[in-house]
C-alpha cells in the first residue's frame, strides 16, 4: 500500500463521515426554516420557546418510539404495518387492566409489554420461520390487533380515572400525561430519549446489531456465516412489538384513555420517519440516529406549519413534498 493510497483512504472517510450525518442535514435545514418562519410575539420567537420545543418532542415521542422499533425491522429488510394497531391494543390493555381489573401499575405495564412482545414474536415466527413476506404478515397482524383491541375494550374508549379506589388507576400513571421532571421535560419525551439512546448504543455496540445489518444486507451470506438468521429476525419483530406496546402505554397515559382506534395510521408516519432518516427500505443500511432525526424533522415540520396556521390541506401537500425531497436527498450517497 503506497502513501497515496492512505491519503485517499482518509479522504474517503471524510466523505463518508459527511454522508453518515446526512440524515441530520434535513433536520437542521427544517429547524432553520422553522426559526425563520416562526411567528413571534413580544419579540419572542414562538417556535423557540422551551414550552413549544418540549411540545414538539412530546408530540413526536410516540411515533419516535415506534419508529425506533421499525428501524430494526426495516434494517433486516422487513416492515411492520401492525405497530399502529398494536399501539391501540396496548392503550386499551393499559386502560382495561388498570381500571376494570385493578391490576396496579407495574403488573399492568409488564403485562401490556409482554403482550406487545409476544405479538411481535409471533409475527416474527410467521415471517421468518414460515417465510411469509413481512408486509403481509403484519398487514394481517394489523387487522388482528385491531380486532383484539375492539373486543378487549368492548368497542369503545375506556376512560382512565385516577385514585386509590376500585376502578381507579394509580395516580403515578397519569404522570405520563403531565409535564413533570423538573416541571418542564415531559415524561414521554424522556422515555423516547432513553429508548433512542439505548437503541443507538445497542445498534452500535453489539454483535446482535451486526447480525441485524448483515441479514438486511445479504441474508444468505449472513446464514452462511453462521448468523442465527431466524432467531435474529424473530427477536427483531419482538422488539418492534414491544416498543409499539410501550408507545401504547404512553398514549393511554397521555390521553387518560385507551381506545381501539388509537394509533390509526401511525405505521405510515413511523415508516416515513425511518426513511426520511436515511434507512433504506431494502434493508441493511441505516441508523437509529437517522430515525430520531427523521421523526424530529417531521415533528418540527408539523409544528411550524401549525404555528403558522397553514391550512390543513396545504399542510398535506407540503408534508408530502418534504418527504419526497428528504428521501431524495438521502439517496445521495458515496457511490
Amino acid at each position: 500500500m503506497t502513501t497515496t493510497d492512505f491519503v485517499e483512504t482518509r479522504r474517503e472517510s471524510v466523505r463518508s463521515m459527511v454522508f453518515r450525518f446526512q440524515s441530520l442535514f434535513g433536520l437542521v435545514a427544517v429547524f432553520i426554516a422553522a426559526i425563520v418562519f416562526s411567528p413571534s410575539r413580544n419579540g419572542e420567537l414562538l417556535f423557540l420557546t422551551s414550552d413549544n420545543l418540549f411540545n414538539v418532542v412530546r408530540a413526536v415521542s410516540e411515533i419516535g418510539i415506534i419508529a425506533v422499533g421499525m428501524t430494526f425491522v426495516i434494517l433486516i429488510g422487513g416492515i411492520d404495518l401492525s405497530v399502529g394497531a398494536m399501539l391501540g391494543l396496548a392503550a386499551v390493555g393499559s386502560a382495561v387492566l388498570l381500571v376494570e381489573n385493578d391490576f396496579g401499575l407495574i403488573p399492568t405495564v409488564l403485562i401490556v409489554l409482554a403482550v406487545g412482545l409476544a405479538f411481535g414474536l409471533l409475527q416474527g415466527v410467521a415471517s421468518a420461520l414460515f417465510s411469509i413476506q413481512a408486509f403481509i404478515v403484519t398487514l394481517a397482524g394489523l387487522q388482528i390487533a385491531r380486532g383484539l383491541a375492539r373486543i378487549w375494550s368492548g368497542g369503545q374508549g375506556v376512560a382512565i380515572a385516577y385514585g386509590d379506589g376500585p376502578g381507579e388507576a394509580p395516580v403515578a400513571f397519569s404522570l405520563l400525561g403531565e409535564r413533570t421532571f423538573n416541571g418542564l421535560v415531559p415524561i414521554p419525551a424522556l422515555i423516547f430519549v432513553v429508548v433512542a439512546v439505548l437503541a443507538i448504543l445497542f445498534l452500535r455496540g453489539t454483535a446482535f446489531s451486526r447480525h441485524v445489518y448483515a441479514i438486511g444486507g445479504n441474508e444468505k451470506a449472513a446464514r452462511l456465516s453462521g448468523v442465527p438468521v431466524t432467531r435474529v429476525k424473530i427477536i427483531v419483530f419482538g422488539i418492534c412489538g414491544l416498543l409499539a406496546a410501550l408507545a401504547g402505554i404512553i398514549h393511554a397515559g397521555q390521553l387518560n384513555q385507551g381506545s381501539p382506534n388509537d394509533g390509526l395510521g401511525y405505521e405510515l408516519d413511523a415508516i416515513a420517519a425511518v426513511v426520511v432518516g436515511g434507512t433504506s427500505l431494502a434493508g441493511g443500511r441505516g441508523s437509529v440516529v437517522g430515525t430520531v432525526a427523521g421523526a424530529l424533522l417531521l415533528g418540527v415540520l408539523n409544528n411550524i406549519l401549525a404555528l403558522n396556521s397553514v391550512d390543513t390541506n396545504v399542510q398535506l401537500l407540503i408534508k408530502g413534498l418534504v418527504i419526497v425531497v428528504a428521501a431524495g436527498l438521502q439517496r445521495l450517497r458515496p457511490s
Binding site: A214, A221, S225, G226
Partner: protein, 509 residues
C-alpha cells in the same frame, strides 16, 4: 489411494437431489491433513453441491459425513464451522453494507468483557490477517464499494480467519489475476504446511497442476476418476471430466487482416472513477472487424470500466470513440445495443440474469420488442429463437421453460452470451466471459467467439486468465491504472510477457 495419512473429514455415499435433478450420487470423498485436494468436473457436475453438503449449508442429503472418523450431522453452516470446516462460496457471499472487518468476523464477533462488540480487536485482527495474507485493503472499507476481485480476496481472508482444519475453496480465484493468484497460492502452501486440508475447486486447469496433491473428478454427480495430481496431465483431467477426448482448446480463426476499422477509441478517460488518479493519457485502441482483441491488466486496472463506458453503462467520460465510422456516445445500454454493441458483464448473477425466470425469458429479453408485432410477442417465434440459440451454444438443459437458476454456472454464462448473439451485434464487449466455466464449455465459447469474428464481428475481451488471452486473441492490450501501457501480438508474445507488462516491469510499446 489411502496411503496411511488420516482423513480429517470424509463423505460416505452422499446423494443430494434438487427436485428431480440428482446433483450428487453416492459420492465418497475424503480430505487429509496437509493436502490440497482438487475437485474437478464440468459445470453442473455437482462440485459445489457436494461441498455445500460438507460445509453444512445443505442438510437434506443422504449419506454420512465423518469428522475425525466419527459420523456427525450438521444442521447448518455454524455446526460445520464448529467442526473446523470452512468454505469460500463460489458466488460471493458477503454483506455489502458491512466493512471488511465486520464481514470477516460476521457471526463470531469478538466481544468485550461487557459482551459488547470489541471493534478494536476486530480491526486489529483483521489488519493482522490481511497483512499475513498479503492482501492490500483497508479493513474499514465497506465491502459494497470493493471491486469483484477485491471482494473475492475478502472472502478468502474470511475463510482463512476461521483457522479451519478443512478449508473448501470453490473457485476462489475466478476474478483474480495472476499476481493475486500467486499470492493466494503462497498462503495455501503455508496452510498446507501447518496441517490443514484444502479442497480446491477451479476451472483453471493450470492452477490445479500447480498446487493440487490429489484430484477427484465428478461427472453427473458421481465420482468417475481419482488422480495423483502431480502426475496428471491437463488432457487426462479434461477427458475424465467430459467423458471423451478433448478437442483442441484454442482453435485459430482466420483473421481478415484488412477488416475495416470497427471501433476506434482515443484518449478515453473516466475521471470520476477514482479520486486521486492521474492518468491524463487514458485509453486508446482500435478493433477491426474479424478481430479478437484482448484486454489484460491487474485488479482495478480499468478493464471493466472501459467496457462499461463503451456500452454506455458507466460513469461520465472524456475522449473520443468512433464506431462504424460515426461517433459513439451511447446514452445507455439500449441505444448501444441498437447500434450493434453488446456487453457481457463480469458477474452474471448480479448483472446478467433474472435467476428465477425461465431460460426462455432470459434468452430473448434483448429482442422481445424486435420479434413483436404491434407489441405482441409471438410465442412460437420467441421459443424458436431461444431454442435455436440454446442449441447452437449447446446449453445443457431440460427445457427452456425451466428457471435459469437450475442451470450450472457455465450454462448460465452461455445464456447471457446467447442473449447477446440474438441481437445480431457487430461488436462484442466481454468481461471475463469464461469465469467459472468448465474446460469443455470454455472451448465451445472460444469456438463461438472465433466464429463470430469470422462472420465479421469485432470482439473486445477482458480476461484475467492469461492463457485465455494468449490462446484466443489476435492482439492483447495491457491496461494499467486506466491507460494502455502495452500491446502484444499473441503470435509473438506469451503469458510471461503479458504478466510482465501488467505489472509494469517492461513496457514494450
Amino acid at each position: 489411494m489411502d496411503n496411511g495419512v488420516a482423513s480429517l473429514v470424509g463423505l460416505v455415499r452422499i446423494s443430494k437431489s434438487y427436485g428431480g435433478v440428482r446433483a450428487c450420487r453416492d459420492v465418497d470423498f475424503t480430505v487429509r491433513a496437509g493436502e490440497v485436494h482438487a475437485l474437478l468436473g464440468e459445470n453442473g457436475a455437482g462440485k459445489s453441491t457436494l461441498m455445500r453438503v460438507l460445509s453444512g449449508d445443505l442438510t437434506d442429503h443422504t449419506g454420512t459425513i465423518t469428522v475425525g472418523g466419527k459420523p456427525i450431522r450438521f444442521h447448518g453452516p455454524a455446526d460445520a464451522q464448529r467442526a473446523g470446516i470452512a468454505m469460500i462460496h463460489q458466488e460471493l457471499d458477503l454483506v455489502p453494507g458491512l466493512s471488511v472487518a465486520e464481514n470477516i468476523f460476521l457471526g463470531r464477533e469478538p466481544r468485550t468483557p461487557l459482551r459488547t462488540l470489541d471493534r478494536r480487536a476486530m480491526l486489529r485482527e483483521t489488519r493482522n490477517l490481511l497483512r499475513r495474507t498479503g492482501i492490500d485493503l483497508d479493513p474499514r472499507r465497506q465491502v459494497g464499494e470493493l471491486r469483484t476481485g477485491e471482494q473475492q480476496l475478502v472472502s478468502i481472508a474470511k475463510a482463512l480467519s476461521l483457522d479451519a482444519k478443512v478449508l473448501i475453496m470453490d473457485e476462489p480465484t475466478s476474478a483474480l489475476s495472476s499476481a493475486e493468484v500467486d499470492r493466494m497460492f503462497t498462503v495455501i502452501a503455508e496452510l498446507r504446511r501447518s496441517g490443514a486440508g484444502i479442497v480446491y475447486i477451479s476451472h483453471r486447469m493450470d492452477e490445479i497442476g500447480r498446487i493440487a496433491d490429489r484430484a477427484t473428478v465428478l461427472r453427473n454427480g458421481a465420482v468417475v476418476a481419482e488422480f495423483d495430481a502431480r502426475d496428471m496431465t491437463a488432457d487426462q483431467a479434461a477427458e475424465a471430466m467430459i467423458g471423451r477426448p478433448v478437442r483442441a482448446m484454442f482453435t485459430t480463426h482466420e483473421t481478415a487482416d484488412a477488416g475495416e476499422k470497427l471501433l476506434e477509441v482515443t484518449d478515453l478517460v473516466v475521471p470520476r472513477s477514482r479520486p486521486g488518479r492521474r492518468d491524463p493519457a487514458g485509453v486508446s485502441l482500435t478493433v477491426r472487424r474479424g478481430e479478437i482483441v484482448g484486454l489484460a491488466g491487474l485488479l482495478g486496472s480499468g478493464r471493466t470500466e472501459l467496457l462499461e463506458t463503451l456500452f454506455g453503462a458507466g460513469d461520465r467520460w472524456q475522449g473520443s470513440v468512433t464506431f462504424k465510422g460515426r461517433a459513439l456516445r451511447p446514452r445507455g445500454p439500449r441505444s448501444a445495443i441498437r447500434r450493434g454493441v453488446v456487453y457481457m458483464p463480469e458477474d452474471r448473477r448480479i448483472s446478467g440474469l433474472a435467476l428465477d425466470h425461465s431460460v426462455l425469458a432470459n434468452t430473448v429479453l434483448s429482442i422481445v420488442d424486435r420479434i413483436a408485432r404491434f407489441g405482441v410477442v409471438s410465442r412460437r417465434r420467441e421459443t424458436g429463437e431461444a431454442t435455436r440459440i440454446v442449441r447452437e451454444l449447446s446449453v445443457k438443459l431440460a427445457s427452456v421453460r425451466d428457471p435459469v437458476s437450475t442451470l450450472s454456472g457455465g450454462n448460465q454464462q452461455k445464456i447471457v452470451l446467447g442473449r447477446m448473439l440474438l441481437t445480431d451485434p457487430d461488436l462484442l464487449l466481454l468481461d471475463e466471459p469464461t469465469r467459472g466455466v468448465d474446460v469443455g464449455a470454455k472451448a465451445e465459447i472460444y469456438q463461438l467467439l472465433g466464429q463470430a469474428a469470422q462472420r465479421g464481428m469485432g470482439v473486445l475481451l477482458a480476461s484475467s486468465e492469461l492463457a485465455e488471452l494468449v490462446g484466443v486473441c489476435d492482439r492483447v492490450i495491457v491496461l494499467r491504472g486506466g491507460r494502455n501501457v502495452a500491446e502484444l501480438q499473441t503470435a509473438q508474445a506469451g503469458e510471461a510477457d503479458l504478466l510482465a507488462a501488467s505489472m509494469g516491469e517492461v513496457v514494450p510499446l
